[in-house]
Amino acid sequence: MRTISLCLISLLLILVTSGCSSGRELERTAFVLTMGIDKGVNGNLDLIFRVAIPRSMDIRAGGETSTLQETTKIITVNARSISEGISLASTNVERKLDFRHLRTVLFGEELARDELLYHQLDALERNPEFRRTTYLLLTEGPAREVFLSTRPVLERSVARYIDGIMQNMREQGFGTPVTLHEFVTAMETYHLDPVLPMVKNNPMVQSEKVDSKVKPMPEVKYKRREAGKTEPGGKTTESLPRSGGNPSEFIGLGIFHQGKLIDKWSGWETNSYNLLRDTYQRSMWTFDDPSGHFVYSMELERARSPEANIDWEGGTPHIAIQLSLDGDLRSVQSLEPYVDSQGIALLENHAATLIEKEVRRLIAKAQEKKIDPFFLSRFVRMHMATIQDLEDLNWRDEFSRAQVDVHVSVKIRRPGLRIQPSKEYEYQRAP
């Protein structure tokens, strides 16, 4: 009797604990890898889903695909909300749309400018299929355009494509990866304005697209298109002078204030932002040579977290910021023999001065708009006792009229695999 009872209980447990009622078979699931949200007509949303075609990625199954377009399909629906869009999209997909492998969500610029972006985040936070580690991106122009034109140079896997882009932002600068969690936390944090990394279509590369492939333009045409571009790449919010590769460029930041996109910052400004916000890891910096001709480059990483001392005496806040960087010398185009104690010090001081100037300029820009995306108020709240004090702080006003001193310390730790630059013995550059 005891054995029979045990068998019956075991059988019952198998039936009720298997979780089959929530089972989702792989063969019945359509994984959405990236999603875009644009402002549609009549106040609706245009939702763009990139759905994976797993079979096409499997070479063993005879897949010969090499591009993202062949491993995924794009579906766009017009709906009033994300949730409604998902259910409407399901009416034409034979499998259940699943967002557990979603890597990134792209928001169209118009949506962000019209204060509609924040209103879409609740759906992403509430539905357990969306992870808070999903990356968010802001597109210049409609998100759908980026969806349709993006052509990864190498990857055909969306996950590796996005992870690679985000890793490049961490290691090369010009952007900063922002997850859903980080963006929502920034929204909810007192005295902080959130930012999103930008992705835009490069018009030069876009013009090279033939069918679904990018065919680099002829030299003459390239020179003609390149003419007139005087500023170095990344200094302004303009697209890079470029031919070939992916039409999508991940460079710059979109700045939000009170739910609205209010400004766009360039790649250089993004590097300065990263330094102040403590999201900087490493980046390549190129400066004009102290001799006045050519440039030199350094790969600098964060040596220490930024420090700020805020002094409230005299009614005007004085903010003293200390940034510390160190790294390697990567190129000396002028071929000047800088690699000795005096020359290195000259390069370090010169670089520090130029970075200070860039950072100060960006801070002044933020002060003018009365915003603080750098979260400098964190240095104030660390000295606060109560939440009431934090709520009473009128930080944006205080920051906008603050005197800010920035001190940057740059240390070149290694000169690379060469000491002084190579030079022809009798070479003298024409003055």
Binding site: I9, T185, E188, M382, H383
Partner: protein, 367 residues
């Protein structure tokens, strides 16, 4: 109290794990969020202050157990005030424990459906966990404590590792302003949340299962300190990752913390490990809750064995678990119960101890 021949003594370390898991069940529910609501950035201080408030109660339990040769509190109550009072208090404790366990069961089921099994009927989850709890409790506390001790090393390793990984991604400035809503407010909130440790009351029901007073005392102190530390650690990690306005709106704090772990390509999507720790602690905790309600009924009615009470009380627990109409209602009522139940769970030993100190001079009666 007469114990069944099947009930053996509890080992010290096993009892510590058992009591700790019983206390810690609520940690995996919504309670970290409630603490953030109540105390803001200083929510990590609440468990420490609550701990200070619970220590005198535990001392009352310990002194009573010592004075009456580790008789259960209901037996002591019977001795002091007669069998009808003993019966009434047993009934009251049973009802309260059934309600408490039922609400924990319901919230566990709601969270399981929200996170892991979206299409599973809630009845399936509740009945499954109730059957598991019944099975574990039916074999007695000695067996249950050994099961808990076997699962403990893996569960605590996974748990601590998850907290460490999540904490390493956080930012220290989210813990400021350091005193939350103010010094006085945080002390007041701390004492309001003494119910965090109310499950320590199980010691007054299972005192006869301890071999000696020293083990009994050590288990109580160690369980309180350990769970206090874990509660504090969780609140710190929660606030390292979420600023206080966000922390107080997190649906399922520990699960969502585990989902944030994302060390680029290498370590991500590790929340199933946390789910293991969560399920283990919850299964053991709910089984202890069922056992505690049965043993309270047994001691109140001076019955020889707890097992005849177990199945009907489990059934009652399942029924009560279906009372709340929604997850939100279950969560609100459970939080309210956490404030209310300490009146009985802490009040009973304190009043008994005061009574004994004033009116009960002789300690020879039980002998």
């Amino acid at each position: 109290m007469r114990q069944s021949s099947q009930e053996g003594h509890l080992g010290g370390i096993e009892a510590f794990v058992l009591v700790s898991m019983f206390i810690a069940v609520k940690l995996f529910l919504h309670i970290p969020r409630e603490l953030s609501w109540a105390a803001g950035t200083a929510s990590w201080m609440v468990p420490l202050i609550a701990l200070v408030g619970v220590v005198p109660v535990f001392l009352c339990i310990e002194r009573l157990a010592n004075r009456f040769g580790r008789a259960s509190l209901l037996s002591i109550a019977g001795l002091l005030w007669g069998r009808y009072v003993q019966w009434f208090l047993g009934l009251l404790l049973t009802v309260m424990l059934v309600i408490h366990t039922a609400y924990q069961m319901r919230i566990f089921a709601e969270f399981t459906i929200t996170t892991l099994l979206p299409n599973t009927p809630i009845s399936v989850v509740i009945i499954s966990i109730a059957l598991l709890g019944l099975f574990l409790a039916f074999n007695g506390l000695e067996n249950l404590s050994r099961s808990a001790w076997l699962l403990f090393p893996l569960a605590i390793t996974v748990f601590i590792l998850s907290l460490f990984l999540a904490g390493s991604q956080g930012h220290i400035y989210y813990l400021s302003p350091w005193l939350g809503y103010g010094g006085i407010a945080i002390i007041e909130t701390g004492f309001r949340f003494v119910g965090l440790f109310k499950e320590i009351m199980i010691l007054m029901l299972i005192a006869p299962l301890f071999r000696n007073q020293k083990t009994f005392r050590q288990v109580g102190v160690a369980s309180l300190l350990f769970t206090g530390l874990i509660f504090t650690l969780v609140q710190i990690v929660l606030h390292l990752n979420f600023d206080f306005p966000g922390a107080r709106e997190i649906g399922f704090p520990l699960y969502q913390l585990a989902r944030l772990i994302n060390l680029q390509f290498v370590v991500q999507r590790v929340e199933p490990f946390m789910v293991f720790a969560w399920s283990t602690v919850t299964a053991v905790g709910l089984a202890v809750g069922l056992y505690a309600s049965a043993i309270a009924a047994t001691q109140g009615s001076r019955a020889p064995d707890f097992r005849p009470f177990l199945i009907p009380l489990t059934l009652l627990t399942v029924v009560v678990a279906f009372f709340p109409e929604s997850s939100i209602e279950a969560v609100h009522t459970y939080t309210y119960l956490m404030m209310l139940l300490p009146i009985l769970f802490y009040g009973l030993p304190v009043i008994t101890w005061i009574w004994v100190m004033i009116f009960h001079r002789s300690s020879e009666e039980l002998k």
